[in-house]
């Protein structure tokens, strides 16, 4: 299945790093959003997006709120969601999991971890 990624992060640097990493892994179809609100707008407008990689700490609508909105929306609920965040404490990871993220990466990430988590999500789908 061809993957179309939505990379959500308020840091331009991080978005570029994630996209460079995806490109290095052989993926070439991605769009970007700077916060959860913009991400939801893009998801609503573009039904071909099937994989969301999102940060947690973002203004306007946070990554966690984005995950909850996606899971609560009948049309979007089946999307694959990978959270990539600096938040590495157990309580945060559990909260993200309860919001139904598919997997979780603690920044700074390595390309190996990114590949491993994407593969895990794809294989579980």
């Amino acid at each position: 299945m061809a993957l179309r990624f939505l990379v959500v992060d308020d840091s331009v640097t991080m978005r570029r790093i994630v996209i460079n990493s995806l490109r290095n892994l052989g993926y070439d179809d991605f769009i970007e959003a700077a916060d959860g609100k913009e991400a939801l707008e893009k998801l609503t407008a573009d039904s071909s997006i099937n994989f969301v990689i999102t940060d947690w700490n973002m203004p306007v609508v946070s990554g966690l709120e984005l995950v909850k909105s996606i899971r609560g929306d009948e049309k979007l609920s089946k999307l694959s969601i990978l959270m990539v965040t600096t938040r590495g404490v157990k309580e945060d990871i559990i909260e993200a999991l309860q919001a139904k993220v598919n997997n979780y990466i603690v920044k700074p990430f390595t390309p190996q971890i990114l590949k491993e988590k994407i593969d895990q999500i794809i294989n579980a789908a």
Binding site: I17, T86, K107
Partner: protein
Amino acid sequence: MKQVNNMSELFDRLNDLKAVFRYGQKLIPIIQSIIDFMRDTVPLLEDINHSIADSTSKIPKAQDQITNVSSATELATTEILDLVDSISADIVNIENTFKELQKEEEEKGMLWAQIKSLLPDSAEAAELINKFENGRQFITKSSELIEIFQKIKNDVYNITLSLQVQDITSQQLAAVTHLIESVQKRLASLIVHLDESDLHGFEFQKAYSTKGTTFDPDARYTKSTERQEVADEIINGALNKTSQDEIDKLFS
């Protein structure tokens, strides 16, 4: 008899009064000390108030400087990423051109093998053929060069990955700004009784608020995999559960 009793009571009261005066006389130096102490303390308190006002007025500048540092590092990181992308694109171009040359050289090699078979079987021809073939090192060297290209690409990509430090330090700086803001609010509450002139140049509502920005105060740039391992343990534990109810029970 009643008069005697009254007189006795009067003396008792006078003695009480005398005791009060004596006690009062003892208290006078203490009260004087307190007055002196207060007199000395007032300028000190004023100094403290001025210091607090001065420190508070400097806080916006400190926040401003931190914000500038964050913006500067973001700008520098973007410039580095632009350069890295440009280098990566150049390397890919060079590598592709090189692979085309490599392919051409292989084709030439096949043509050369055909030509060689048509050449006369003479010692002079054999010597020239050897000389020519020894000079053609492109194919043998090319695999080494391809490896070098790959190494450069990896190094450039690793530079990109290292730039994650910018996002993480930005969050750490945002946390510091937030902390300064909290101190500012506390100090502001201490100096509300000061004369407005003491707050010259200081605006409480100045737009340095970190409100609206989000950050992780525990953000860390580390090569340690410890935090990822914790995440993996939790996520993998949950992935083995078949239903959301089971996941919720796991963490309840």
